[in-house]
């Protein structure tokens, strides 16, 4: 049995490790591609600026964008008594101001949180979640969501997506330069053939690798949110049974799109056939069975 505190500690350590590897990867790829393009580091700078602006915009407006995309409306204390008061209570337990509470009128049970810091936090649940879970289970789910906010996961994932963006842009520019790169002829003799070959390979696989690392970080943060959520309610079993209920539910959440899928507590697309290790690499969320196993052992 591993205590919740050491779970949290281990998850944080792993995130730091993955982030370090990721930074090194981004720097190396950028360096090699930049060198091969023959323009040096100014291109990396440009890539960083463009990707940074794109991510910052989504970082600052993510709450509004997501809510509009999923058709959520503000919750009412009287009508959505349980969701509203449970969110109040978990915020009390976490010592943060009460987040804004939204409801999606969809019978598939699911929930997500967004917002860049505890002052701009939003918690959103579907009608199905409110109806199908008991109050204690609802507490577990909301505590998981509020943990995402408290752990600044939205901020972390924004930084990660800036880096993924840089890699994508640089690879793209490199591939393009191969097409209309006649001008490079003279330079090319200066760069070694090895470096050039490496760049081609990198331009092809780097975006994929970057995305895989991004997904690995996302899964790590899900485990972390489970553990710190359990610390908020002192009731990991309730979250475990909620996760089982949500994943056993057959309904598909129509409000979710590819762009918002990673935000939800349980992957809204639920392609259960792909439980293999390889398919897991491409998932934003760890498998439910593993999350439940860890939670019940707490």
């Amino acid at each position: 049995m591993i205590s919740i505190h050491s779970q949290i500690q281990a998850n944080k350590m792993k995130t730091v490790m993955v982030m370090t590897i990721f930074m090194l990867f981004v720097v190396t790829v950028s360096y090699i591609l930049g060198k091969s393009l023959g323009y040096g580091s100014s291109w990396i700078g440009l890539g960083l600026i463009i990707s940074g602006i794109m991510s910052l915009v989504s970082y600052y407006y993510s709450d509004k964008m997501v809510l509009t995309l999923s058709g959520a409306r503000l919750a009412d204390r009287k009508k959505d008594f349980d969701l509203y008061t449970v969110t109040e209570n978990i915020a009390l337990s976490a010592g943060i101001p009460k987040p804004k509470v939204y409801v999606i009128e969809d019978s598939a049970p699911n929930a997500f949180a967004t917002g860049r810091d505890p002052e701009h936090a939003v918690v959103c649940a579907t009608r199905g979640l409110i109806n199908k879970l008991s109050r204690r289970e609802l507490e577990g789910v909301i505590a998981h969501e509020i943990s995402h906010i408290q752990n600044f996961d939205i901020r972390l994932m924004a930084i990660v997506s800036i880096m993924v963006g840089v890699i994508a842009l640089l690879s793209d520019w490199f591939s393009r330069s191969l097409w209309w790169g006649k001008r490079d002829r003279d330079d090319r003799s200066n760069i070694s053939a090895v470096l050039f070959l490496m760049s081609i390979v990198l331009a092809l696989i780097a975006p994929l690798v970057a995305t895989l690392i991004q997904l690995a970080i996302s899964r790590r943060r899900e485990f972390l949110a489970d553990a710190s959520g359990a610390l908020l309610t002192r009731n990991p079993d309730a979250l475990a049974s909620a996760l089982q209920k949500i994943s056993a539910d057959k309904e598909v959440l129509e409000a979710a799109t590819n762009a918002t899928a990673h935000l939800y507590i349980v992957n809204p697309f639920k392609d259960k056939n792909f439980s293999a290790w390889f398919a897991n690499l491409f998932n934003t969320h760890p498998p439910i069975s593993e999350r439940v196993k860890i939670l019940t052992a707490m």
Binding site: A94, G95, R135
Partner: protein, 183 residues
């Protein structure tokens, strides 16, 4: 030489300054967490008169019980130390529990919209008290740990920082709520 000595003394002063401020903000957080419990206890007490009024209209033989509830409420309002408040709150939970058990005998009361709403609100404030208590105790633990640690302990002693009291109630409190309002 003199310069080096001055630099070292300066660094030490800065360090003490930092620890002092850190202890102050920890202490503030405990105070804030405590006032949150207080707010929730007050909210709880405020719901009682309304509840008593509603129940009175439907029951004839429960005078004694209602008196007990009113007494438990005033005990809660007049309690001052964390320990006293925890005890008074426990007491109130106990009598409320018997009230809701007795309510089973009055179908009309059980169907009353107002009564149902109050029952929900009371269950919710009980949750709120327990979650604020949990937050408060976490903050107390953080603060008390800081006081014990070296070198904080030396500074804490000099500036009269004292251990804070935990807000404790019986462990089975959380469970009681679940039993009472089983869906």
């Amino acid at each position: 030489m003199l310069f080096a000595l001055a630099a070292i003394l300066g660094l030490i002063a800065l360090y003490i300054w930092y620890i002092y401020n850190d202890l102050v903000s920890s202490k503030m957080r405990v105070g804030e967490a405590w006032s949150q419990i207080d707010v929730q206890l007050k909210r709880r007490a405020d719901l009682i008169p309304n509840l008593v009024e509603t129940v009175k209209g439907y029951t004839k033989h429960e005078k004694k019980l209602l008196e007990n509830i009113t007494r438990a409420r005033s005990a809660l309002l007049s309690a001052s130390s964390p320990k006293e408040k925890a005890q008074a709150d426990n007491q109130l939970s106990g009598v409320l529990k018997s009230l809701f058990a007795v309510a089973e005998n009055y179908p009309n009361l059980k169907a009353n919209e107002n009564f149902l709403q109050l029952q929900k609100e009371l269950a919710d404030t009980e949750d709120k008290v327990s979650f604020s208590r949990q937050h408060h105790n976490t903050m107390v633990m953080e603060y008390n740990t800081k006081l014990q640690m070296f070198p904080n302990a030396l500074i804490a002693g000099k500036f009269n920082f004292r251990d804070k009291e935990y807000y404790e109630a019986k462990k089975e409190d959380r469970k009681k709520v679940e039993v009472k309002f089983g869906e």
